[in-house]
């Protein structure tokens, strides 16, 4: 049997199994979205595939009852952990009125759900970074002890808003976790054309905060890094920059053809490290998962995904005239 790495992190067998389940649910929802897109039922998908481990590992390290999260568009694993349901995600995919994120106003991947402290997001990348800092600042002013967690891609770490937000958090020692999900590409542009530093986390020192780079295919490594960052934040020691390195297993979105800029070999190579496989193997090797349980889990998940799809597909759109609502407070 391989080394049990989750115990020393204080994670029970049930906990890691739950983590795996959320990773799997994320993957299956995403796969379904692609099917729906390719069959012409929904206009757009942007994927979490390849980043579930980082997302779920990180989200499990947070306080799901108190912390605030500002996820970016790939963070299916993060929002599922924080209480959004498969049905809600499907409602968003189908742009239906009941979608809690936006009532069908925004594309899928633009998360927001106040009751779960999932802060509404937009498309322009990295604008959420200063928001995360502002929420942390508000928490500090009010003497709260939550931390604020925000994510973004490595390409997006080149936006001015990343720099300005990180610096503000550093100066004010705010409990913010900045997590860069480095998947090696920004649409077609590989990381070498995005950044000249070795690791995105090299930027942390410029903001007076610790920076760490971890394997984004290892949910336990990410859990550890984010847990430490959250603890630091709660202790009043300020922000942390965490970089999770993995690979984007799908094209950028349903509008993209990744074969125009990378090879199928490269993708196939990356798939050998897919955390859905490797973390599944880890659980099996530790006797936490077996084939029966796996089948059961998969069946449950497919049932959930099917029900969510059916519900969302049949749900009504928002009325046309309702687009006039909520420009300002009524």
């Amino acid at each position: 049997m391989v080394e049990n790495r989750h115990k020393e992190l204080g994670l029970s067998d049930e906990k890691v199994l739950e983590m795996y389940k959320v990773m799997l649910l994320s993957r299956r929802i995403d796969e379904r979205m692609w099917l729906l897109n390719r069959s012409g039922k929904i206009p757009f998908v942007v994927s979490c595939q390849g980043q579930e481990a980082a997302q779920v590992g990180a989200a499990f390290a947070l306080d799901r009852e108190n912390d605030y999260i500002l996820p970016y568009y790939r963070d299916v694993g993060v929002v599922l952990t924080f209480g959004m349901t498969a049905k809600e995600l499907m409602l968003s995919g189908f742009a239906k009125a009941e979608d809690p994120n936006s009532g069908g106003r925004q594309m899928p991947g633009h998360f927001g759900q106040k009751k779960n402290r999932i802060v509404t997001g937009s498309s322009p990348v990295t604008t959420q970074v200063p928001h995360a800092v502002g929420i942390a600042l508000a928490g500090k002013m009010e003497g709260k002890d939550f931390v604020t967690f925000t994510t973004f891609g490595e390409g997006s770490s080149n936006q001015g808003d990343f720099h300005e937000g990180a610096n503000f958090a550093g100066v004010h020692k705010l409990p913010v976790i900045f997590m860069c999900e480095n998947n090696k590409y920004a649409i077609s542009v590989p990381i070498e054309k995005q950044l000249a530093c070795e690791n995105v986390s090299d930027r942390a020192i410029g903001y007076g905060m610790p920076g760490v780079t971890v394997d984004g295919n290892d949910p336990l490594a990410v859990y550890r890094a984010v847990k430490e960052a959250a603890d630091r934040g709660r202790r009043g020691e300020g922000p942390t920059l965490v970089e999770t390195v993995s690979y984007r297993l799908t094209p950028h979105s349903s509008d993209d053809d990744d074969m125009s800029y990378r090879t199928s070999d490269e993708v196939a190579q990356a798939k050998t490290k897919d955390a859905i496989i490797t973390f599944g193997a880890y659980l099996k090797e530790n006797g936490i998962l077996n084939d029966d349980l796996e089948k059961q889990m998969n069946d449950d998940i497919m049932k959930t995904v099917n029900e969510a799809t059916d519900y969302a597909e049949n749900a009504p759109y928002a009325k046309a005239e309702s687009l006039l609502e909520y420009v300002y407070e009524k």
Binding site: Y68, D99, P100, N101, S102, G103, R105, Q106, H110, G112, Q113, K114, V119, T120, S122, S123, P124, T127, V129, P130, H131, A132, V133, G134, I135, A136, L137, A138, G139, M141, G160, D161, H163, E164, G165, N167, F168, V171, E325, Y326, V327, Y328, E329
Partner: protein
């Protein structure tokens, strides 16, 4: 009633709101220890401490963005842009974020932030310390833009802006800061955002304007009155979204309309005012809709010769009024 300056009305409104509501706080460059480069936040740092009057790093997108985050959480941030000209790096946060938060979340989240900035010229501020920037934002549903002309309006509208549950851009004319004084009640009062205000009743011609130009119009109206020409002056106060009813009423009343802005002409606030009139009460008009504005150059120069040529002033306003009256 005490007479105070335009800038003191700003400070008073902020102070009173901070006393009233612990969620209100100020952030910006030099707003703390120094009390602002114009002293608009003078004394607040001493009264409320550095936690509520925050000297931020020099980064406008973060000032807006951090404020927006705090506002979404439930605070009432008042973000200062040191000069309106320096709001440009924050445009993405203002237009893509603040303006759209309520709408995009289907009313789940909101963004009660006030962004204050001194604008306007006539102070030897040159190209980058003199601009009017309202037209850049006055096409973005979700935003409100307030530009008061008097200390009384400043206090009532700034308080309303701070209590408003949507984002408000609050532009203060920097030359008005110490030049314009007026009666301001000590009491707590708010004025309605979105409502224009008749600053002078008249019968012959209508002037519609806002900000410092309101005073130029009132001065010129006084002169014309002695020649028997009666001028109706409407102060827009909120330049986005506009108070259509008040505009239509004021235009229809005299049938002769002069629109004034200190901004460059093409694509300015008064273009929309004109379009509203042309769309709604064209047949009430007895003259073309006249516009008086700055010339279409990038911004006003530093040299006094050129700055003076750029600026709208009481003489130019009077001349335009007389021309219109005689039409």
């Amino acid at each position: 009633m005490p007479v105070i300056s335009y800038i003191d009305a700003v400070t008073t409104a902020i102070r009173e709101e901070m006393e009233r509501d612990s969620r209100v706080f100020v952030l910006g460059e030099d707003v703390g220890k120094k009390g602002g480069v114009f002293k608009a936040t003078n004394g607040l740092y001493e009264q409320f401490g550095e936690e509520r009057v925050i000297d931020t790093p020099l980064a406008e997108s973060a000032i807006a963005g951090v404020g927006i985050g705090a506002a979404m959480y439930g605070m009432r941030p008042i973000a200062e842009m040191q000069f309106a000209d320096f709001i440009m790096p924050a445009v993405n946060q203002i237009i893509s974020e603040a303006a759209k938060i309520r709408y995009r979340s289907n009313n789940d989240w909101d963004c009660p932030i006030v962004i204050r900035a001194p604008y306007g010229g006539g102070v030897h501020g040159a190209l980058y310390h003199s601009q009017s920037v309202e037209a850049i934002f006055a096409n973005q549903p979700g935003l409100k833009i307030v530009m008061p002309s008097t200390p009384y309006d400043v206090k009532g509208l700034l308080k309303a802006a701070i209590r408003d549950n949507d984002p408000v851009l609050f532009f203060e004319h920097k030359r008005a800061y110490r030049l314009i004084k007026g009666e301001v009640p000590n009491d707590d009062y708010v004025l309605p955002i979105g409502k224009a205000d008749v600053k002078r009743q008249g019968e012959d011609i209508t002037v519609i304007t806002y900000g410092l130009c309101v005073h130029f119009a009132l001065q010129a109206a006084e002169k014309l009155a002695s020649d028997g020409i009666s001028v109706h002056v409407l102060d827009l106060r909120t330049v986005y979204p506009l108070d259509k009813e008040a505009i239509i009423e004021a235009a229809a009343k005299t049938g002769k309309v002069l629109l004034i802005t200190e901004d460059t002409k093409e694509g300015s606030i008064i273009s929309e005012v004109s379009a509203i009139i042309a769309e709604n009460c064209l047949f009430d008009l007895d003259a073309p809709i006249m516009r008086l504005a700055g010339p279409d150059v990038p911004a006003m120069p530093y040299a006094p010769t050129m700055e003076k040529y750029f600026m709208v002033n009481p003489d130019k306003v009077e001349k335009a009024m007389r021309e219109l009256a005689e039409y």
